[in-house]
Amino acid sequence: MAKGFVAVTVERCKGCGFCVEFCPTKVLDLSSAFNSKGYHPPYVVAGEKCSGCDLCGMYCPDFAIFGARYAR
């Protein structure tokens, strides 16, 4: 089971792709769907690999995504 989770605020995303590119375990991909502003937000393709490192959150210029570890 994944050590962490990633949460996306779809409507705030501007589709830059930073989170997808720099996720060290390649958890994300850009969706083919649009948000209401016409951008392609990221979605989770390999959730079990998420470590909750929050690098996506560090990179996201739009404060639209973050990761965290599950409290155990």
């Binding site: 949460a7 501007k14 590119e21 210029p61 404060f63």
Partner: protein, 296 residues
């Protein structure tokens, strides 16, 4: 449907760690898709957390420009000054209330063209300010004109045949003028940048961090350099970490190597310390600390 769209199990109380530091009622911000300014803000928030800064004693001052918007979005005491005047405003703030941690957050045009004079003198005096310069190598908000930082050969709104005037090397300028701390990172180096920002929040004196950041709308697009993500990949490939490198060797070019790292970390007495020493010497008993007089 919940605010977060995701196949994963997301705890009820999960919250983006930057949100408490932002004025969320002002989101979404004005920055373009792929602009790096927001990324630097993430790093700054991590630095505030790791340095255990007392948020009631942190003030953030910006000038005009895309980066100048940071002061308006930060949920801290903040002031958005006139063009180029972030440093003089911050200097006044610091001298009137020496306990404040004053951060200047602005762009290359604002800090080094319109406000260039203020920058060199604040560094010379070793004013206790933390200056973060988001350098996108152009005047972004006004349409992408040649700035003092635009490298040679670059096409800009005012240089349709390529820039031919020499550019400032900001880290060399900061060191020569007297800064106590000088570092350069890019928006690709998020962890290193956050660490540097945390370091300067705990260091006395004039500290300067340059952050190279994409401006896909006005710089990269005009130069056929792709979008924000292409620029991030270029930063990743072209950057070399060389701590302590002589700043004179760290000039930026259009598409060459980018030397990053911490170049200067030295201790010099700061302005307030020098002032106190001098006034104590000259006035003796008659000198009273400004804090005692103003009741701060």
């Amino acid at each position: 449907m919940s605010e977060f769209e995701c196949v994963m199990e997301i705890p009820e109380d999960a919250r983006n760690p930057v949100e408490p530091f932002l004025r969320m009622d002002r989101m979404p911000h004005i920055w373009c898709p792929g602009c790096g300014i927001g990324t630097t803000v993430n790093c700054f928030v991590r630095a505030l957390l790791s340095s255990k800064s007392d948020l009631d004693h942190v003030a953030i001052v910006s000038g005009i420009g895309c980066t100048g918007r940071v002061a308006g979005y930060a949920n801290l005491d903040s002031f958005h000054t006139t063009h180029g005047r972030a440093i003089p405003f911050a200097t006044g703030l610091k001298l009137a209330n020496p306990k404040l941690q004053v951060v200047v957050y602005s762009g290359d045009g604002d800090l080094f063209a319109i406000g260039g004079n203020h920058f060199i003198h604040a560094a010379r005096r070793n004013m206790d300010l933390k200056v973060i310069c988001v350098n996108n190598l152009t005047y972004a908000m006004t349409g992408g004109q040649t700035a003092p930082t635009t490298p040679g050969q670059v096409i800009s709104a005012t240089a349709p045949y390529g820039v031919f005037e020499p550019a400032f090397n900001l880290v060399q300028l900061a060191e020569a003028a007297g800064a106590a701390y000088v570092a350069r990172w890019t928006t690709y180096h998020v962890t290193q940048l956050a660490r540097s920002m945390g370091e300067v929040l705990n260091k006395k004196g004039f500290c300067f961090i340059e952050v190279l950041s994409p401006c896909p709308t006005l710089y990269q697009r005009r130069n056929k350099m792709g979008d924000g993500l292409d620029t991030m990949k270029y930063y990743k490939e072209a950057s070399k970490i060389r701590h302590g490198a002589p700043t004179g060797e760290c000039a930026l070019t259009k598409s060459g190597e980018i030397v990053v790292g911490k170049f200067v970390d030295r201790d010099r007495p700061d302005y307030l310390e020098l002032m106190r020493t001098q006034l104590h010497e000259s006035l003796g008993e008659r000198y009273a600390e400004p804090e005692a007089v103003c009741g701060l």
